[in-house]
Symmetry: C2
Subunit: 329 residues, 2 copies
């Protein structure tokens, strides 16, 4: 289901990362980076909430506004009960909607926000997401201290917070349309291969976006998924071609971009809801503003994995939501 927007722009963004992202190839594109995983707080969960708070502080500072100027805050993260978003929203104290579609949460929030801004229901909103490697490992996998070996197909959760300010003011990057994906389940149970779980959801959403907009794939200078990782990226390319007869050429995946895959211990690449917006808001928007690329389809992909359901031997569903980003003419 694709929604066309007439007047919605990401006027500005705020991005904050942890140490691995800081030591990665895109370091110069983030607004702020920490050298550790605690940021002066006592726990990883509280630190993750600070990533959202910081990203919003930076964003509000950039646009010269205070929290009282913001109509709505839409936010989500990987923590159970959206803890990072809730505690950040508690400090912000403005109308708040919590959203969750795992690593597709970023584009989910942006589509809801864009719909409300475009139809003038609200004047503006801030859309946030976060993820934190250690809090995610603790919640979804094993204690970090355990140091268990991992499979090659495992991804490494991004530590970061990313916030975008949306309004109808014609500056920044335009959100031209958004495609809301549906949940699919290919019967995969392997929690160490999320790329394989999510690739078919990405394919379906890209196909539906092109069908709904009557566009060919080469309409876009770049199709950017996030975050499939090395193996998921390969699966998507093959699957798109065999299942939908669409050849992905100008294509990349944010999971393969935010870290140095040859030299950082991140297995198949990055993951976490913060990954796609961190790469997009800094590195990609910079390319767009220089008009190196003008049209980007950002497809955030989420594995709707629950440790409880995995323990119950259930398969892992997935979803992907896409937004079409354009340089302002």
């Amino acid at each position: 289901m694709t929604i066309k927007f007439d007047n919605v722009y990401i006027n500005d963004t705020g991005t904050v990362t942890g140490p691995y992202e800081k030591n990665g190839p895109l370091q110069s594109y983030f607004d702020k980076s920490y050298n550790d995983f605690y940021f002066g707080l006592k726990t990883w969960e509280q630190a993750e909430s600070k990533l959202i708070e910081d990203s919003i502080d930076i964003l509000l500072n950039k646009i010269g506004r205070t929290r009282f100027d913001i109509d709505l805050h839409i936010s989500g993260d990987l923590m159970n009960q959206l803890t990072s978003s809730n505690y950040a929203a508690s400090k912000l104290g403005i109308p708040y909607l919590g959203v969750y579609n795992a690593c597709a949460t970023s584009t989910e929030g942006l589509i809801i926000g864009s719909s409300l801004v475009d139809k003038k229901i609200i004047k503006n909103c801030v859309c946030s997401v976060s993820s934190h490697n250690n809090s995610a490992e603790k919640q979804f996998r094993y204690p970090i201290e355990y140091g268990g070996p991992k499979r090659k197909t495992t991804t490494f959760t991004t530590t970061g917070g990313a916030s975008a300010y949306l309004s109808s003011d014609k500056k920044g990057i335009r959100i031209e349309s958004g495609t809301v994906g549906s949940v699919i389940d290919m019967g995969i149970k392997d929690v160490y291969n999320m790329g394989a779980v999510m690739a078919p959801a990405a394919a379906q959403t890209i196909y539906e976006h092109l069908r709904d907009t009557k566009r060919e794939i080469d309409y876009y200078d770049l199709v950017l998924t996030g975050d499939l990782g090395i193996y998921g990226k390969k699966i998507l390319k093959e699957y798109m071609e065999t299942e939908y007869n669409i050849k992905l050429k100008n294509y990349d995946d944010t999971a393969c971009m935010i870290f140095d895959l040859d030299n950082q211990p991140v297995y198949a690449g990055a993951s976490g809801p913060a990954c796609a917006p961190l790469v997009t808001y800094g590195y990609i928007f910079n390319k767009m503003k220089k008009k190196e690329i003008t049209r980007v389809l950002l497809v955030a992909t989420g594995a709707l994995m629950s440790p409880t359901m995995v323990n119950e031997k259930m398969t892992i569903p997935s979803i992907a939501h896409a937004i079409s980003l354009e340089v302002i003419e």
Copy 2:
């Protein structure tokens, strides 16, 4: 932040409950009730997902439509990663947005859905929520089998699924406006007194709704919170009067309505995101259709409680979202 809707109606609803609700005073208002907590499935989590599936099946059957006629599914629940919603959405296979604001999820979803329908971004949508007593107890508290004693202020999570079909067709009950609340934190850490945690959020949202719409409290034939319970209800009434100088007269709380508080072992009343819509869609809509009451302000309240953050001695934030429901003239 209050959004006014011109043409949005809850055309029909589907409600399914567990045994406690079936044995409660509103039994005749539910579409379907189960006698146990498993519904033929192996686990409580899978059973909870079935509550959403069933409620949608019933709803689609009532309105004579199939899943292919539905533009969008908005859903949330108490399970980590919104598991119940995700697995139900996986079977439904239509565009899906996962939302979470604890027990305020029902009105959160309805406000998002109403915004999209009212502005003709979509033709229709189904908004769902669920909760399940045993899966919630397992996740948030102690194993059921442990049989630990509870404090009087504890609430008993509702087992149920509730779905609403929203469109611009003028039938059923009108959603006239919606107020998106903001997160507040009064510094309470007591996980056994959620009513006290949520009452100030309810008060703030009711106040903001009246302020935004320039209405007096007696504009509404009924202000209905859900789910504060016996003690939270008392706190809200006192707090509204001392803090906002607003006297709640025509007021009730769904937590005090769905069970027989004198004869069922439910402590301070009901809770869970399904509680408010289960009471509203059946019992309250029936009263409205008979024009016994014509204007209802439904205020769903959510304690954004995370067991992880409680273990870290953090306070519990809360939120409330309100919708104004009207009999069609």
